[in-house]
Amino acid sequence: MGPILLLTLIIFLPTIGAIALLAVPKDNDEYLRIGALGVTVVTFVLTLFLLGDFNTDDPAIQPVFEVIQVDGATEPPDLKLLANYDLSEGKVMRDGQEVQVQRGITIPWIRTWNIEYKLGYDGISVPLLLLTSFISVLAMMASWSIKKMVRGYLILFLLLETGMLGVFLALDFFLFYVFWEVMLLPMYFLIGIWGGPRKEYAAIKFFLYTLLGSVLMLIAMLMFYFGSAAHSDQTSTFDLLELAVIAQNGLFDQQMQMIAFVLLFIGFAIKVPTFPFHTWLPDAHVEAPTPISMILAGVLLKMGGYGILRIAFPLCPFGAHWAAYTLVVIGAFSIIYGAFAAMAQTDFKRLVAYSSVSHMGYVIVGMAVWKLSVDTNALHHWQLGINGAMFQMIAHGVSSAGMFFIVGVIYDRVHHRDLNQFGGLSKLMPWYSGLAAGIFFAGLGLPGMCGFIGEIFVTLSAWNYSPLLAIIVAAGVILTAGYILWTIQRVFLGPEYRGPHAEEITPMNGREFTVAAVLLAFAIILGVYPPIMFDLMGGSIELLTETLQQGLENATDATSTAGLPGN
């Protein structure tokens, strides 16, 4: 399968599935669910193909095409997929010869505005793509608990998946923005129709927050589009790779980078979410149905982090460095604030939601520990931080999806989430309690489980940046342990269950068991053998930090030679 077809199918197979579901009669709930599950499974398999195609030695965007230029021809050059190649000093070599390449697939979409259908993947997006399609399968398996308007639910779910996968594959800013927004509509209705008692409030709050962030992103997008006109060899461009190169050469002036970074960061921070922009999250999580909470926590929050790494950092290195300290402070504050807020909750799901705010704080801290110094090791510390942040995103995707699923399982039985009315579940549901304890420990950051790796990497890298902040960040681990252990105590331990609907507590069924067990298994695998992720993303992160460093230096130098057109 050619890369164009593969990437397009990964994005649009769920949409095709959604359209196909329209053809199935409305009341065949079981067929509809199995069909939709089939679509998500096939999409997952397709992302595995992608993993197979992925060349871990090449840190930059793939797939790589060789450009075959015929001398004197006016037509666009032919492109041939390059399968075997070596890299030396950033140049692509085949049989010892340098070849001219184009990275990512590029199909013109709106030529009057130079907008392209440009897709590609590297070490940063591949893990997140896998996470997305994987969590989608599990969330779809968890969707058997949805009984109302099943067809509509499944169609919206699949459209949501298209949006998510599109975001991680798009390399054109405009296309990215389109996919980013495409998710809003399904999400609004998934929370608004199938959610809990305050669903309408939660849904509109989510929608408004994200839309506000998107508008800021749109303005930043225009800044780059028109800012690129003077430096690009064609006209203005939305091509993220080209824009990143312009930024790397320091050709976006400093003031613009600072403004654009603030706009982009707010847009992405709303999605992450970090402290001042997080208030939509507890509401949305609490009201959303279980599978959608899994998606929200497992995938949607990662888009914020991904956006920062893919767009905000590469396009404004100077702005990013300028704001680094603020970012670390915001991240550290989110960690502590989220942990304390989680501790104060009596609603089980709200607790898990605040724990997400806390855990995503590590992601921001890890990305932002960019210390400028002559010491060459400084860059290594930062790479450690970004590696930690990326790992934390994957780990949180697994563990928080698991935690929301665990909450959902018990909520389906007893129809309440009041922590003070739980207790003694370990006797009634031994398997459930065992799996739940495992997943919660993963969230807690117990060594040997996935949460630990991300947190320790981030903490270590933060020490080099600012010891004080590292201590604060490390304190977050203790608080996390506090609220999670307390939760386990209140829910699973204790003599007996005294809350309502005690008679409905039944052991997990096979489907529920599978979802929880798979998530726990991945939490352990990632914790025991983290290189499966680090091998994928290490190279790309190294390349990213080096380019950013260059971009920063060039932008700082550019003050003396401001105004000269690009090279």
Binding site: I110, W113, I115, V178, E181, F189, I204, A229, A562
Partner: protein, 599 residues
């Protein structure tokens, strides 16, 4: 001597009539409908067949023109007809096509929704077609007389149509309000036109620019201190007030919610799209005719006019969106939404006027970033890239070509920019881009707004209500209509991948670029962006009621199955909304091509 004149006259009339075929066909259709009624044939042939047939033929003529020009070149076709009263160019043809397509859709809607009944059919369609002829005149006006005539011709049938539901108190009240406002606005506008015409000694729009240059040739700066300038400002404000009334722009919007609430939803849909589109076409022509000022002082003056338009646009968008919050009647809510959308579209006009009138000295300073007072050709071309290779070439190059040098000083640049040939092309790329946004927005707006009004009309036929309260849980009974409503409304908000987003994106992009000319455009962009977020709340309130609520048991049922004409009609109107969000290139290219003709 006389023979030659006669020959010329005959030739002009022949040529003009040929170019005027679509309008003539509509005129013939109007007469035919009245005759059919006179001879009592309308019992056998319903008037809508006559109206639809005539419109289709007219559409065919317009489409042939369009295709012919598309194959050759739009530039070649530009000519004035009827001794310079009308202009026939790509822009005219674009709007003819637009209005006729819209007319077909509206006639189809009225057939489906049953307003008017067969008894009143002839009257109604005569008014509808007559109004459209007026709008088509507006879009091709080349003379202030036609400007006024077109607006009146489009408006007067509109007044009657608003009051067409005879016996309904609200409807008559709405029509009365509309007439009084309309008459007032027309009077003010006519006074403005007469002032301007008196000052310039011509009513020909082509002549305005050069006469204005002549009038202000001696003055140092054009401002309130100058008596002539004060007259021009007064005239412009009055003329723009007339436009603002047609566009329902704040503060001339008061008629709009009442008229739309009182009129049938079909009429609301027609007026909100067609008359706005025609008024925008006319306004664009008017502004371009004005904006080819040559001296820097005049340009600066026009630029402030543009900023003023922008301020009104921002006010209109904000007011429309805020006022829509409190509405409980869906038609009234949509009326406020059209006020907001007129605001967004007016932003494009304001950006147009601002970019067209950037003083040459400022432009030079903007391009000459290193500030050494000398601009080289290479840097200028690199920093001023607004060309579309197939349509027109890099604008700035012409200055260097004229001078025959590759680097230029500020004084030389400003001197060159006064040359009429240069003025015409210098801002062409940016201006075309601003208009492209407007045209694209209008095209999407036609479908999304008509869709919303059509759904309101079709649902009304079942539940006999247009109150939001009665829309509860409709999705369980008419899923197709509700999903179409969802797509139209999200497009009105401006969410991708729907057409409304693309239109909004283009307008915002132009505003951003105009911000480099004057910072106030950035403020307007920001207001526009924030408004997008505001507007979500009330659109989604409608959707919330339709989708999230349960249908009360005692509510009147609105069972419209998917396989029925009304559902199919809504799907047909909604599909383009989605398609224009995905297949953007074709229309975007055509719009830019059409827009570039004006410069």
């Amino acid at each position: 001597m006389f023979d030659t004149l006669l020959e010329l006259f005959v030739f002009d009339v022949q040529n003009s009539l040929q170019r005027f075929a679509p309008e003539l066909t509509l005129c013939v259709t109007v007469v035919a409908m009245l005759l059919v009624r006179l001879f009592n044939l309308d019992r056998h042939v319903p008037s809508y067949w006559v109206a639809l047939g005539g419109t289709l033929i007219s559409f065919f003529f317009a489409f042939t023109d369009f295709n012919m020009l598309k194959m050759e070149s739009f530039d070649l076709a530009q000519q004035t007809i009827f001794t310079g009263l009308l202009v026939f160019d790509g822009f005219t043809i674009f709007f003819r096509l637009f209005l006729l397509l819209f007319l077909i859709l509206v006639i189809a809607l009225t057939v489906l929704s049953g307003i008017p009944d067969n008894e009143d059919g002839a009257d109604f369609y005569v008014l509808l077609l007559g109004s459209t002829i007026g709008m088509m005149l507006m879009s091709s006006a080349n003379h202030m007389l036609i400007l006024f005539l077109g607006i009146e011709m489009a408006s007067v049938p509109g007044y009657v149509m608003v009051g067409f539901l005879k016996g309904r108190k609200k409807s008559s009240e709405a029509a009365f309000k509309y007439v009084v406002y309309g008459a007032g606005a027309a009077g003010v506008m006519l006074y403005g036109i007469s002032l301007l015409t008196g000052l310039l000694g011509t009513a020909d729009m082509v002549e305005i620019a050069s006469r204005m240059n002549a009038v202000f040739a001696g003055s140092e700066s054009v401002g309130m201190g100058d008596a002539t300038a004060r007259t021009v400002i007064l005239a412009l404000v009055m003329i723009l007030a007339g436009f603002a009334f047609k566009l329902s722009i704040v503060p001339f919007h008061f008629w709009c919610p009442d008229a739309f609430e009182g009129a049938a939803a079909e009429i609301g849909g027609f007026l909100s799209v067609a008359s706005k589109a025609a008024a925008f076409a006319l306004l664009a022509r008017f502004c371009v005719a004005f904006s080819t000022g040559q001296a820097d002082n005049l340009k600066e003056f026009y630029m402030y006019v543009g900023i003023g338009i922008g301020a009104i646009a921002a006010l209109s968008a904000t007011f429309g969106n805020l006022a829509a919050y409190a509405q409980t009647n869906v038609k009234r809510l949509l009326a406020y939404s059209t006020i907001a959308h007129a605001g967004y579209m007016l932003m494009a006009i304001s950006a147009l006027v601002v970019v067209l009138n950037e003083p040459a000295g400022d432009l030079f300073a903007r391009l000459d970033a290193d500030g050494d007072g000398v601009l080289t050709r290479q840097i200028a071309e690199q920093r001023y890239q607004y060309d579309v290779p197939e349509l027109y070439r890099s604008d700035i190059a012409i200055i260097f070509d004229q001078l025959g040098k590759n680097s230029i000083t500020q004084a030389e640049f400003v001197e060159q920019a006064k040359d009429p040939a240069v003025v015409h092309t210098l801002h062409r790329g940016l201006g075309a881009q601003a208009l492209e946004g407007l045209l694209y927005y209008l095209a999407v707006y036609m479908f999304m707004n008509l869709g919303a009004f059509a759904i309101v009309a079709l649902i009304r036929n079942h539940i006999f209500s247009e109150e939001l309260e009665d829309y509860k849980g409709l999705v369980h009974q008419t899923p197709a209509l509700c999903i179409c409503m969802l797509i139209c409304m999200f497009s009105l908000v401006g969410l991708p991948p729907l057409g409304g987003f693309v239109g909004k994106f283009m307008i915002f992009a132009t505003l951003f670029e105009a911000g480099a000319v004057h910072w106030s455009m950035w403020a307007i962009l920001l207001i526009g962006g924030v408004n997008t977020v505001f507007s979500l709340v009330y659109y989604i309130r409608v959707l919330k009621v339709m989708f999230l609520a349960e249908r009360p048991a005692d509510a009147r049922p609105a069972l419209i199955p998917f396989r029925s004409a009304p559902s199919m009609y809504c799907v047909m109107v909604t599909v383009p909304v989605l398609a224009l969000g995905i297949f953007v290139e074709q229309l975007s290219y055509t719009a830019r091509q059409v827009a570039s003709i004006l410069f």
